[in-house]
Symmetry: C2
Subunit: 205 residues, 2 copies
């Protein structure tokens, strides 16, 4: 069930415990224990991962914590069938979305170049940037959930247009992922799937 | 220069050293020390971050290490003017790209569902999935560079079509980011830019 520490783990500066917590032993959970995830825990995750970089510090990620049973039902009906039961039962579900108007906050987060907002005037280019940098931040967020000692169950199997209409009816945001969060439950995961070899991924010129 | 450990750092399971190494003290470097980055270090980074999740385990990220002076010059001319000097002088530069034909490897990496490859038959939907999951993996890679005790200088200021034609002339891959990697040099960074407040990013329903 658990990846063993092999390979070049000793070459890294991050300790083995951290490596295991974030990558080697961490797994996508499909079932969760019946233990709540508090707003304080989400705040601790955000206050860690907010420091990771985005293009021009644009930080387009927006997070909707789906806590009430009514909001949960509104979400579940847009999930793919195979994702419905776990989305229904996870202690916490977060909708991770890209703010398509992130540029409005650039005067605050990129104050030394007041003209940067205008560099994102074109909606299509702005959406591409929001989606790329939002996805970077989804990656950071998943690592942050694990840093909090919790398991993430990220999902992309859903009707994106349906979720956007349901939760972002003004067109302000585009959903990127929906993530179940909690302590892993019984039989939370299957065997680990194969990873690509270094030689299949990395080339040198 | 350095973010102090404040906020809810103690709520997290990842130790303070790990939090600082990966997020709080880590910074985007603009200058680098004259110390090489070895293939073994890149392998150690990959062998850590390869475990982080992607949709249907698709792992679309491809990495081109730009090592030879000739390849470096081919890259530099497609970078934005403000990124050229650091791309020229960084100990290692990596082109991070999404494999637009990642589905061909699904029978290997998602073996329990042989039909999954066909779910990505549509090129437009496949490209969107490659770009989203590739960006997730760019995020994981940046964290991995930091886990190796190195600084990353990720850049998105470049002529993407130019890089794609230059390095992926067969249309197989789409560049997502170019990342300078090394030990930070003198005056490697400016003051940290503001991050969005929790209340600007997270809402609860």
């Amino acid at each position: 069930m658990t990846a063993t520490v092999t390979e070049a783990a000793g070459t890294l500066e991050l300790g083995t415990d951290g490596q295991n917590l974030l990558f080697r032993e961490a797994r996508t959970a499909n079932t969760f224990a019946d233990e709540p995830v508090s707003d304080d825990q989400v705040r601790a995750i955000y206050d860690l991962v907010k420091y990771a970089p985005t293009s021009a510090n644009q930080q387009p990620l927006r997070i909707v914590l789906v806590r009430s049973p009514e909001a949960r039902q509104r979400l579940v009906r847009h999930m793919s069938e195979g994702n419905r039961a776990k989305t229904e039962s996870a202690p916490l579900v977060a909708i991770l979305a890209a703010d398509l108007n992130f540029h409005e906050k650039l005067p605050k987060v990129f104050p030394h170049k007041p003209g940067m907002k205008d560099a994102f005037a074109d909606p299509a280019a702005r959406e591409a940037s929001a989606r790329f940098n939002g996805a970077l931040q989804v990656g950071y967020f998943i690592i942050g959930v694990r840093a909090a000692g919790l398991a993430a169950g990220p999902m992309t199997g859903f009707d994106a247009a349906g979720i956007n209409a349901e939760f972002f009816g003004d067109g302000s945001c585009a959903v990127l992922a929906v993530v179940n969060i909690g302590k892993p439950g019984e039989n939370a995961w299957l065997g680990r799937l194969p990873r690509l070899d270094y030689e299949e991924v990395v080339t040198s010129l």
